[in-house]
């Protein structure tokens, strides 16, 4: 068998099941008692407890989504909402329990932190076990805290912003998140501060049959600049795991935020995540997203361009393999004049996988002078798979320049033939073409993550012929 183009890696590093002692574990299912139990364990203020209970009511009153992926096998009553490892939140990796540290070591997080990250947060099941930021940044006033700490230290800020961008009434899983959220990060970048190196959060689900519901809130103040990277993985289990995180981003006047995600949940995970950014005057929001894992995904990061001259770009690659149904996309909502957006989505489906692009492009009546383009490309690696592109475009004034393009096809035989005539095996040729296909995305990731993505593609491409 031919060697993949970039060195082989051990897929088992994602599949490690650490034997960890757990401190608290709620019963399966979702009841007001469980919600109160989580709130009590965290010693939260009363408003948050009330908010959680209100969200639970909203959750109960809303129907399951009738579109997108099939959620009939997902039984919330079988999911453990909260499970915390027996570990205190550490400031140095030496204080992290050995088993947990080993997991993150193999995922390469501590090494990456040393080399090129400005700060790292690591979540293990329901709780953050490590959170640290470079001293120099905290001196500049940059706040990077786990969410529980942030709620204690900056209660007013959290109260002002928490679930205002994504209200719990948004959809059923936003309400679920509001009721049982745990962990996640809070980032504040003060006016004019430029954070050159990325901040990273890594989310690891370790226990079977559980859920992870981390909350990420980032406020980039006027004229500031930040890059946030999020990674996620979990070992493979026979039972379903659920991830319903929520990401709220506030990009203030003239600020810049880049949000990158490499998602590689195990193939038993339902990934029903909500991400949204409110982008003010002259600000810029850049999404880079790679979806490789999970059994079913519904994820549509959105940018609300509400300030004049705001811009947003969304670049994503989705790779759906055997047994996966990845329904991803982007929403661009133009509410202010002279706003600009660009969506580039690449999806690959193979081995019976289903990749969907579902997008919304909306230009409101007041958003004149808008320029926007949406480009979707699908690559089918065999005839068992599916690739659907389902955008909705709504334009409500005439001063708009909109272009949309989508195409789906397979790898052309000529290209494979050419590469093989130059000495590559068929497998190498295909892997090379797929990597070329996703180049616009890997090109916009930091080098280390681009390598990581390239590895994931190699894993996916192995044995894809036949």
């Amino acid at each position: 068998m031919a060697k993949p183009v970039i060195g082989d890696i051990d897929f088992s590093r994602y599949n490690m099941k650490a034997k960890v002692k757990y401190k608290h574990k709620t019963a399966k299912g979702l009841t007001p008692q469980i919600v109160e139990e989580i709130s009590n364990l965290k010693g939260e203020p009363d408003w948050m407890r009330q908010f959680r209970l209100k969200c639970l009511k909203i959750y109960d009153s809303m129907p399951m989504p009738s579109w997108g992926v099939d959620l009939s096998e997902l039984n919330i009553d079988d999911i453990v909402a909260y499970i915390s490892p027996d570990a205190k939140k550490a400031k140095t990796w030496d204080d992290v329990p050995k088993d947990i540290k080993e997991t993150f070591d193999r995922l390469g997080i501590p090494a990456a932190e040393k080399e090129y990250l400005a700060g790292v947060g690591a979540q293990f099941d329901s709780e953050i076990i490590y959170h640290n930021i470079k001293e120099q940044l905290s001196k500049q006033g940059v706040i990077f805290e786990d969410f529980d700490t942030a709620l204690k230290k900056y209660p007013d800020v959290i109260k002002e912003y928490f679930m205002k961008c994504v209200p719990p009434t948004d959809h059923k899983f936003a309400a679920l998140h509001g009721a049982i959220w745990s962990g996640g990060s809070f980032v504040y970048v003060p006016k004019g501060v430029k954070v050159d190196t990325p901040l990273q959060a890594y989310f690891r689900m370790n226990a079977p049959g559980t859920g992870q519901f981390e909350h990420t809130l980032i406020i980039v103040d006027e004229g500031a600049d930040a890059h946030y990277i999020e990674g996620c993985s979990a070992p493979q289990y026979a039972v379903s795991n659920l991830h319903a995180g929520c990401v709220e981003l506030y990009v203030k006047k003239g600020a810049k935020l880049r949000y990158s995600t490499i998602e590689n949940w195990s193939r038993n995970t339902y990934n029903l995540n909500t991400k949204r950014a409110l982008v003010d005057e002259g600000a810029s929001m850049i999404w880079v997203s790679g979806s490789f894992g999970s059994k079913k995904t519904m994820l549509y990061p959105s940018s609300v361009l509400r300030g004049e001259g705001a811009t947003s770009e969304f670049t994503s690659v989705t790779f759906a393999g055997n047994g996966q149904h990845l329904d991803t996309g982007a929403k661009m909502i133009h509410l202010a004049p002279n706003t600009y957006s660009k969506v580039l989505s690449k999806s690959i489906s193979k081995n019976g996988g289903i990749a969907n692009f579902r997008g919304l492009l909306k230009v409101g009546p007041k958003a004149t002078g808008v320029k926007t383009t949406v480009q979707c490309e699908g690559l089918m690696l065999d005839d068992k798979s599916r690739n659907d592109t389902l955008p909705i475009i709504e334009i409500q004034n005439d001063r708009v320049d909109m272009g949309y393009e989508a195409k789906v096809g397979k790898i052309s035989e000529e290209k494979i033939y050419y590469l093989m005539s130059r000495g590559l095996s068929e497998e190498d040729a295909k892997a090379l073409i797929v990597k070329g296909f996703v180049e616009p995305i890997s090109g916009s990731l930091p080098l280390e993550y681009a390598v990581e993505m390239s590895r994931l593609i190699n894993i996916e491409m192995e044995g894809s012929i036949g």
Partner: protein, 384 residues
């Protein structure tokens, strides 16, 4: 429209058509008026039943039968009872199936494609038109057909039509549907096309009239090498609204579809374009393409596009493109610098977009009439 009326109508029809009216009525009864999100039918009520007597046919040798006179022969059962899903909504399709008050059955002959086109004209003087049309193209026949829904009095009309087309092996049907009913009319039209081996159904669609219009074209390409090409143009002004949808199902290998729609929006008008290309598993070597471009002429217009591209096989080529925007300022400036007025320049640019569709009309009179309507609507007519 109720059971008593159905009985009265059924007495005039014989055999399976009576049964067909009956089963249509069962479907009609069990459905509510749809609640559409975009083209809202909030204050909509179903019209009172009336007969229709203004059908005119110019056939020139082709076999065209008035459905009310001669009914339908058994050979149309295949397509009428196909059970294939299509139409703007089941409520409106079943309304026609049970209560149709006019319609034609067309059986193109060999070679009739080269002569004058078959022109079916449904003129309306505030009429209720519930037309049931069937086109059966036997193997290796060709036909050019125009169905024209035309207003003659400016009164408010109600049109709900169903047209079913079966194109058998090697046949070719070129169908033009013109809709130019009065500005206060309702228009619903559901068109079904079934394309067998190496057959082709090509549609030219021009939507110029009605206050509220919902139109759906559905194609099943179930024979190898079938083709479905669509050229369409719409112009909306005032408060008019149009929901125009096309769905092409590629079920067989080497089938080809191509949809090309041009639109222009003025005043407070609102257009919704839906285009579905569904490349089913097994449609090896199929090609599907779809383009929509809309020119926006006023600040208060609204344009939605919902193109879907579904792909269940790898050996296909499918593409979509949509664009919308205002007329290019530089081009307008250039034309005005050459002595054209703003309105003339604008009109010329919009017309340029519509020309491929209008030029494809098979009749001189129709081409002129369409250019005339386009001009009247673009320059604002008596409204401004």
């Amino acid at each position: 429209m109720d059971e008593i009326l159905l009985k009265r109508l059924s007495e005039k029809s014989d055999g399976w058509i009576r049964i067909n009216r009956q089963t249509g009525f069962e479907r009609f009864k069990s459905r509510d008026i749809p609640r559409w999100k975009r083209l809202s039918l909030k204050d909509f009520t179903l019209p009172e039943y009336r007969g229709y007597g203004r059908l005119s046919v110019s056939a020139d040798g082709a076999d065209v039968k008035d459905i009310m006179d001669t009914g339908m022969r058994d050979d149309v059962r295949d397509i009428v009872e196909s059970g294939l899903a299509f139409g703007v909504d089941e409520k409106f399709v079943s309304m026609v199936d049970s209560f149709f008050n006019t319609g034609v059955v067309i059986r193109p002959g060999k070679g009739s494609g080269n002569g004058a086109p078959v022109i079916i004209r449904y003129a309306s003087d505030g009429d209720l038109i519930l037309d049931q049309n069937v086109i059966i193209a036997e193997p290796y026949t060709t036909a050019r057909i125009v169905i024209d829904y035309d207003d003659i009095s400016g009164k408010s009309s109600f049109h709900d039509g169903v047209t079913r087309i079966l194109a058998k092996e090697g046949s070719k049907v070129e169908l033009t549907i013109l809709q130019r009913l009065s500005d206060s009319s309702y228009n619903f039209n559901s068109v079904l096309g079934v394309v067998e081996d190496d057959a082709a159904i090509n549609w030219s669609v021009i939507e110029m009239g009605s206050k509220n219009s919902a139109v759906n074209y559905m194609t099943y390409m179930r024979g190898q090498g079938g083709e479905n090409r669509v050229k369409g143009a719409f112009l909306l002004d005032g408060d008019r609204r149009l929901d125009l949808s096309f769905k092409v199902n590629h079920l067989a290998p080497k089938t080809i579809s191509d949809i090309d729609i041009r639109g222009a929006l003025k005043d407070n008008s609102y257009s919704i374009f839906r285009g579905d290309l569904d490349m089913k598993h097994g449609a090896k070597g199929a090609k599907g393409n779809e383009r929509e471009s809309v020119i926006l002429l006023d600040r208060t217009v609204r344009s939605d596009a919902i193109p879907a591209l579904k792909c269940g096989d790898d050996d296909v080529e499918a593409g979509h493109a949509a664009s919308c925007g205002e007329l290019d300022e530089n081009v307008l400036f250039y034309m005005m610098s050459r002595g054209l007025s703003y309105d003339e320049a604008r009109m010329m640019l919009v017309e340029a977009g519509f020309n491929p569709v209008i030029d494809a009309l098979p009749d001189d009179g129709l081409r002129d009439a369409m250019r005339e309507i386009l001009k009247r609507r673009l320059t604002g007519g008596e409204d401004d």
